[in-house]
Amino acid sequence: MSAYEISRMLYSLREPANREACRTNPESYYRRFTEDEAEIRMLLQPNWQGLVDAGVSIYLLTKLAATLNVDLLEVGASMRGMKHEAFLQLLKEQAERNQQYAILLE
């Protein structure tokens, strides 16, 4: 298991042609970089927090999310083990609670 190979694959997604290849056939794209079945499974799900626990940077996972057209807030809900709507509600309540700390400029 190596975060390095996954990271190399995710780094390649800076190129539009690679994103297209990844979207067209994700599994074969992932297999160009790793043959580890556990890694391939995590990528196909995708198991966002599992990938973080394996040592992959969130700054690379955002490239996979962009490729698959997954919103960062969906990634966050998945990492928290929450439904998307429940996470949005949590953020809304947090923002309301935290407004007392704001220093605004006109």
């Binding site: 390095y4 990271s7 190399r8 995710l10 780094y11 997604l13 800076r14 190129e15 539009p16 994103r19 927090q49 973080v52 940077s57 969130i58 700054y59 690379l60 955002t62 490239k63 996979l64 999310a65 962009a66 490729t67 960062l72 807030l73 966050g76 990492m79 928290r80 083990g81 996470f87 949590l90 953020l91 947090q94 923002a95 935290n98 407004q99 700390y101 704001a102 220093i103 605004l104 400029l105 006109e106």
Partner: protein, 275 residues
């Protein structure tokens, strides 16, 4: 000679770029942030900068784990726009200031600070989310610098302070008259992994801004682990603000302060004037 006339600390985030590109800047949740950036833009114009030195961090768009430089300075004549996965944002190439950058690089190494010079740098949202708001149409040439906050071992906040101090001296040693503004981007609190994903820590953010204003050197007694604990793992980007503040005279006066906790993070802007 070169003069450090002012400094700005501000947040960077894909959300800022997204709201700007999708014209959400006048909509309720984003308006306070973009109003504050507009104020910061006006204030920056009043400082009449000839060049902006922008200290930010790369997010695996320029650098990779094969070798991640701790500190870099761009010495190119111009800089490209990154494609972080959403496509390249629609901006022209960004003009640099090669001669001044080469002077800074040489001078800082001579002064005992071994940083890496980059002849080609692709700038990601660490630079590109706030800078179109502060430096519209790229009217002022820029010099990008990076601090590694991604691949361990990370530099200490104390070392990031030393980077700023050395940079300040290097600016002063330039022979031409140049008005220089230092920008540090990153933070404030945010956590982008795990069960605390999205948690914002406004009390710590306010304390950080207060320390930067009143007792900036005290921030060098914190470790990266302290910052991660207080403001979330990804808030360690605040070392860029610390380097900015250290490049300014200690007598610099705070003239601009904004804080807005919203969504996944605490957004902040601070401006200091040196003269």
């Amino acid at each position: 000679m070169g003069h450090v006339v002012a400094g700005i600390g501000c947040s960077h985030a894909p959300s800022i770029a997204h709201a700007y590109d999708h014209r959400l800047t006048e909509e309720a949740p984003w308006k306070p942030l973009f109003t504050a950036f507009a104020r910061a833009h006006q204030w920056l114009q009043q400082q009449k900068p000839d060049v902006l030195i922008v200290i930010y961090n790369d997010h695996v768009d320029q650098y990779f784990f094969d070798a991640w430089p701790t500190f870099t300075i761009g010495v190119a004549g111009e800089y490209e726009i990154a494609d972080e996965g959403w496509g390249q944002r629609n901006f022209p190439v960004i003009p640099g200031h090669r001669i001044f950058a080469q002077h800074l690089a040489t001078r800082m190494v001579d002064d005992g600070f071994d940083l890496t010079a980059s002849q080609r740098m692709i700038l990601d949202h660490g630079f590109l989310s706030p800078m179109p708001l502060l430096n519209q149409d790229w009217v002022v040439p820029i010099i990008p610098m990076t601090i590694n906050v991604v691949q361990p071992p990370l530099p200490t906040p104390k070392r990031c302070w030393a980077l700023g101090e050395t940079l300040g001296r290097a600016v002063t040693s330039f022979s031409e008259n140049l008005r220089v503004v230092i920008v540090g981007t990153g933070g404030l609190s945010h956590q982008l992994t795990g069960t605390a994903f999205g948690t914002v820590y406004p009390e710590w953010d306010r304390k950080f801004l207060q320390l930067l204003e009143e007792a900036p050197h005290e921030l060098t007694t914190y470790s990266m682990a302290d910052f991660a604990c207080l403001g979330g793992d990804h808030s360690i980007e605040v070392v860029q603000w610390i380097a900015m503040r250290a490049a300014l005279p200690m007598t610099a006066k705070m003239e601009l302060k904004f804080y807005y906790p919203y969504g996944l993070m605490g957004y902040g802007i601070m401006g200091f004037r040196a003269e």
